[in-house]
């Protein structure tokens, strides 16, 4: 089965981001295909490069980054949702004249068209809500 995943919740704030992470792991272990993971609304916070959870807690940010690298997954963060919430990669930071960027390199910034395309090309889209 070809899945795409829509993540709408921020880590810690809601359980949904962690549930999405575990779902992606389980799907991959069961030899399913993850076509794309799309981060939208507050879900964009999962792609932060600087969030630092306490050391005795699970680091979901690192978890996503390792998962992407381990399976060469396509992680896309909505560019409009991210910019308005203060998450920019280097080129976006430059474009908006900001001093710093704060987005992990395992995530690509792109538009909602990527979610629409993933929907059209996957068997199932699973949403993990806010």
């Amino acid at each position: 089965m070809v899945f795409s995943i829509l993540v709408l919740g921020a880590p810690f704030n809601s359980q949904s981001a962690y549930s999405a992470f575990r779902f992606v792991e389980a799907a991959l272990e069961s030899k399913h295909t993850i076509y794309r993971v799309f981060f939208y609304q507050d879900g964009i916070h999962n792609s932060s490069a600087i969030a630092t959870p306490p050391q005795d807690e699970f680091d979901l940010y690192q978890g996503w980054q390792d998962l992407q690298a381990g399976y060469s997954l396509d992680f896309v963060t909505c560019i409009a949702a991210a910019a308005r919430r203060g998450l920019l990669n280097e080129s976006e930071a430059k474009r908006h004249n900001k001093d710093n960027s704060n987005m992990a390199k395992q995530f690509d910034l792109s538009g909602l068209g990527q979610l629409v395309e993933a929907t059209a090309l996957s068997d199932q889209v699973i949403t993990f809500g806010q």
Partner: protein, 123 residues
């Protein structure tokens, strides 16, 4: 981007217009899906009914007028707009914006809408 095939997408909107980003961000998704020529329907239910009121004045709270954005949906190929009749009744909303081409539907009709959709996005 690959040329996507067409899928039946239902966007369920259950949020009031200006209390969160849901209304705006669901609309953005509807516009994107319309632009990529998907078969998009939007169902307004619960507090999303308030998005359909005429004469909104969101300038007072420095917000963009979402009902103006709803009116451009047909230009992007999104023409199937539905509102849950019972949600309107529950809120005593008798008049929705005349400029919106939107169909009032019953609970059983909205069930059919859900059943016929390949993918449902809920905001």
């Amino acid at each position: 981007m690959n040329q996507p095939k067409t899928k039946k997408i239902l966007i369920v909107n259950q949020s009031a217009p200006y209390s969160s980003g849901n209304a705006k961000e669901s609309l953005d998704l509807a516009l994107a899906a319309g632009t990529f020529e998907q078969d998009v329907s939007i169902l307004f239910t619960g507090d999303a009914c308030y998005q359909l009121l005429a004469a909104q004045k969101p300038k007072e709270i420095d917000s963009k007028n979402l009902s103006q954005m709803l009116k451009v949906l047909p230009i992007y190929g999104v023409e199937s707009l539905f509102v849950d009749e019972q949600s309107l009744l529950n809120r005593n909303i008798r008049h929705i914006d005349n400029d919106l081409k939107i169909t009032k539907i019953s609970a059983s009709e909205s069930r059919e809408l859900f059943q016929s959709a390949a993918t449902v996005f809920r905001f």
